[in-house]
Symmetry: C2
Subunit: 202 residues, 2 copies
DNA sequence: CAGAGAATAGAACGATCGTGCTTTTCTGTC
DNA sequence: GACAGAAAAGCACGATCGTTCTATTCTCTG
């Protein structure tokens, strides 16, 4: 549990900020709007961060921590190799489907927003996504080393494909609100993993 | 060629607007900012559209027309069936790689922005993406009917996978600026199409 | 080349933006 | 339970937002 009152309200603010950012955007999310949604005054809220950019950075960090809790950590409980690769993708899709953030994956939404806006916020978002991709790639490598996935195709390429499916169904759901896309995504991931099983050299 | 002066400047404005929208966003793109980038006065530019929403709608339509010219039309020259499926995906990736819009695919960028903002702008964007997906799906169907692609998997699912690869490399490039992702995307598309060839039942 | 109408510019509006400064209210410690 | 410091609110600022109204400049036709 959190010590001081300040830390507690800060956490509440960041919860609201991360949720609102996926719906209305992180950049256009104004201090006034966030204060209203948090039931605080503009200046009271502002004092917690000192600047809008600091608020954005804190929001990204908060969302990253949530992503770890919702996707990375649970997948770490699956055994190394193919099961963990599957678990990572499956939890990623679950996280989009359960709408942990009301506007879908936080990093999918904000990365498009900050793509072309150089600065620390963009860097922080890119860093987080890079670490997700490299973690997925690492899991694929382990599966290849265990002989569960064909090693003729690079782990990076495989991670790209699997992530594309997860991103694809998140994006498609946000646009068309048809929940079938999540199973479509899971099927695509499963089929692709299955097709990468090495020939049974008994 | 365009008749009146008004139509010509309007076109120039929309070119600038579509380009800026992929970099700075369509929603936060202000009239003043766009006027400055177009070398016009705020009110002079504004008079062409009457409201910001009309400007946004016109920008979406303009970008849609460009997408047709850059992606759909050239692919229509490929013969029906598998070659056209490939051409659609390849031109889509090309269009991202050539940076027809400086911030990558216009519809990838704006769809995330307007995902959760109900209104005519969101609807227009969703409509355009839906028509792209259905065109791609239709091309897959034709390839299936010609016996060039296995018909055991739905055309909708196949179109989803192929589009995900194209979207995936656009997004990854915008974030990391590593041009290798485009070939990665093309390889993923090609591999997937290849894997869908029906068993040679001679 | 004149005159009508389109195209653009200028100035101003109320609202909201991010941010500073000052004041009030609340929290946790002795 | 008083008191110091943290937390929150109030208020004001210059800037920019979308939009309106009016005035000026340009374009094309007769």
């Amino acid at each position: 549990m959190l010590k001081t009152k300040g830390e507690r309200t800060r956490e509440t603010i960041l919860d609201t900020a991360a949720a609102l950012a996926t719906q209305e955007g992180l950049a256009p999310l104004s201090i006034g709007r966030l204060a209203e949604a948090s039931g605080m005054s503009k200046s009271g809220l502002f004092a917690h961060f000192g600047s809008k950019e600091e608020l954005q950075l804190a929001t990204v960090d908060h969302a990253a921590a949530m992503f770890v809790v919702e996707v990375i950590s649970p997948a770490r409980e699956a055994p190394r190799g193919l099961p963990r690769v599957w678990a990572l993708c499956d939890h990623m899709i679950d996280y989009a489907e359960r709408q942990v953030f009301p506007g879908g994956c936080f990093f999918a939404a904000t990365s498009f927003e900050f793509n072309n806006r150089p600065g620390p916020v963009r860097d922080r978002i890119a860093e987080m996504i890079a670490s997700w991709l490299s973690y997925l790639e690492h899991a694929v490598e382990q599966a290849q080393e265990a002989g569960e996935i064909d090693a003729s195709l690079g782990a990076r390429e495989i991670a790209f494909e699997l992530d594309s499916f997860a991103q694809g169904c998140n994006a498609k759901f946000q646009l068309f609100r048809d929940a079938r896309v999540f199973d479509e995504g899971r099927r695509a991931v499963r089929d692709r993993i299955e097709s990468l099983r090495p020939p049974l050299a008994a």
